[in-house]
């Protein structure tokens, strides 16, 4: 025991062991369980252990499922592009245009506070804006821009993406701001002395140095959007499906094996996407 304790790393292992226990029991084993259940069979009333590929066959054979996956990717891509543009601009403003640290921190905190409030409430809060008689339609009609209320504001792709951007832009702002703040200002001066224009400084100095932050933010946004089911359900009024909703619908019908198979495919898709993104950045260096 004494010798075991003195071995290098033993102390570290003891310190991380509670975390590992929790993650093994509440993360790895559940994933293993889902993988196992995805090969099980089900009747209308119960599920039974088996080793069959029916669930996957059904999944890959269905055109509907393919479309839902494409929809999920589309949501992720559009949300990623918008949150990246907004997040980068906001971080750029805070870093290079706000000159005192106190103001930088204050404004940064203002951007992050909504992160600590309820997502569900923040979704609900779009209803008075986007509804048929909502603020958006009322003011557009008031300005004479439209005669009829727009129907596509609430319960539509537009509403879903709007909510995603509203909820997840913070996940871009925070890591991008974090890396940008660490850029040595003398590099920018050097570039200016060398005759670079503002745009050249942006594309040749700032963007390359900010890339790790951009990648971390992107991973967050893509993972959150691809794994989401509640935003899509609420903002589309249950009219649009993404992969998360396929899973939650199956769960609602107690079709756990089918839900598990979809979950496994979703997990693989998310992990592959992130693995590709990780090729561009070493996260541990960025902390």
């Amino acid at each position: 025991m004494e010798r075991l304790f003195r071995r290098p790393g033993a102390q570290s292992w003891m310190l991380v062991s509670p975390i590992m226990l929790i993650l093994v029991f509440f993360l790895l084993m559940p994933i293993g369980m889902i993988t196992a259940v995805s090969f099980w069979g089900s009747t209308e009333f119960s599920i039974y252990p088996a080793f069959q590929f029916d669930n996957y066959e059904y999944l890959f054979g269905s055109q509907v499922v393919w479309n839902v996956f494409i929809k999920t990717f589309t949501f992720a891509l559009i949300t990623w592009a918008i949150t990246l543009s907004i997040g980068f601009t906001v971080a750029y403003f805070l870093t290079f245009h706000v000159h005192t640290l106190t103001w930088q921190i204050t404004l940064f905190l203002l951007c992050t506070i909504p992160f600590w409030t309820s997502n569900i409430i923040r979704m609900i809060s779009w209803v008075p804006f986007l509804g048929r008689n909502g603020i958006a339609n009322q003011s557009l009609i008031g300005m004479g821009l439209i005669d009829e209320p727009l129907e596509w504001l609430l319960f539509s792709d537009f509403a879903v993406i709007l909510a995603f951007v509203h909820l997840y832009t913070l996940f871009m702002v925070v890591p991008i701001f974090n890396t940008m703040m660490r850029i040595d200002k003398s590099l920018i001066e050097a570039a200016r002395d060398g005759g670079a224009s503002g745009f050249q400084i942006l594309t040749n100095v700032i963007i390359p140095l900010t890339k790790p932050g951009i990648m971390i933010g992107s991973i967050f946004v893509v993972a959150l959007v691809m794994g989401d089911f509640i935003t899509v359900r609420f903002m589309s009024g249950s009219q649009i499906a993404n992969v998360g909703r396929l899973i939650s619908n199956d769960i609602g019908l107690l079709q756990y094996p089918s839900a598990a198979a979809t979950a496994v495919v979703l997990l693989c898709t998310v992990l592959i996407t992130i693995a590709i993104m990780l090729r561009f950045v070493d996260i541990r260096k960025e902390l």
């Binding site: 559940p30 600590w116 509804g131 769960i251």
Partner: protein, 280 residues
């Protein structure tokens, strides 16, 4: 600096203000609408101003078990907060040295952030049902939420210890402090402000968690689950009143934590030594 701002400052500044309006506008709107008169609907115009919908919240019969779910969310939030803080400190300390397998553990922690919440929820639900255990917010729900709060706490602690100057500890050790004394008197006070951050993450992420708790909380709902249930059958501003109240609660929690962090910072600045700053 000649004090004159370039044009780009005003353009980006305007963009930033618009972004803040976008972030906060909807929340303020439901804040205003929650004071609708008794005859008012889900959007403008306001039909009078009243506290009717807040009053409705206290009539338990009308809207379900809101206060029970609030108490559960509060208790769960505190449990998750304490566990997250303690385990994050331990994890942070562990990672000050490289150890065999540290990379694998790190990737599992990161995976916990990106694995879709519904999978965690579904997987834990399946395990509990196969083991014949009942899911309950204080067991399965607690574990499910830790898979979300721990990675955030650990990321903060990793960042803190990456910038931590070991000279202070070495000095204390040279004076004969035991490792527990070094931790208690040197490390803990130095990382205290960051721990406030970890605690804030732990509590608020748990208090607002939805997807991971969905299939793991059992027959007693937490507040976000209760609110979501209400969205399907309650179509009156009572929803806004509840939203406004819980947002105010979240904001006051954030305020309290920020004040504590500020207080620690102030006290430290006051008691700090001026050694090495030269004679004045």
């Amino acid at each position: 600096m000649d004090g004159k701002r370039p044009l780009s400052f005003y353009i980006l500044g305007a963009f930033f203000v618009l972004f803040l309006i976008f972030l906060y506008g909807p929340t303020f709107t439901i804040g205003i609408l929650s004071f609708q008169g008794p005859g008012g609907g889900l959007t403008f115009p306001m039909r009078g101003v009243s506290l009717h919908w807040f009053d409705e919240l206290f009539q338990t019969q009308a809207v379900g078990d809101i206060w029970g779910s609030f108490r559960r969310s509060l208790a769960l939030g505190l449990m998750v907060m304490v566990t997250t803080v303690v385990l994050s400190i331990m994890g942070g300390l562990a990672y000050r040295k490289r150890f065999a397998g540290s990379n694998i553990v790190f990737y599992i922690i990161m995976a916990s952030l990106v694995i879709p919440s519904i999978l965690v929820s579904l997987g834990i639900g399946l395990i509990f049902s196969q083991l014949g255990w009942d899911v309950h917010w204080s067991t399965s729900g607690f574990g499910a939420q830790l898979t979300w709060t721990l990675p955030f706490g650990l990321l903060i602690m990793f960042a803190v210890f990456n910038r931590f100057n070991p000279a202070y500890e070495e000095a204390a050790r040279d004076q004969g402090a035991t490792s527990w004394q070094v931790f208690q008197h040197i490390v803990l006070p130095l990382i205290a402000p960051s721990l406030i951050g970890v605690a804030l993450f732990g509590f608020t992420l748990s208090y607002d968690e939805f997807a991971r708790t969905l299939l793991t909380s059992g027959s007693y709902n937490t507040l976000p689950l209760e609110i979501f249930g209400m969205t399907t059958n309650v179509t009156s501003p009572v929803l806004y009143a509840l939203g406004t109240l819980t947002t105010l609660f979240s904001l006051s929690i954030i305020g309290v934590f920020l004040c504590i962090a500020l207080f620690i910072q102030r006290r430290r600045a006051k008691q700090g030594s001026d050694a090495g700053k030269g004679m004045v």
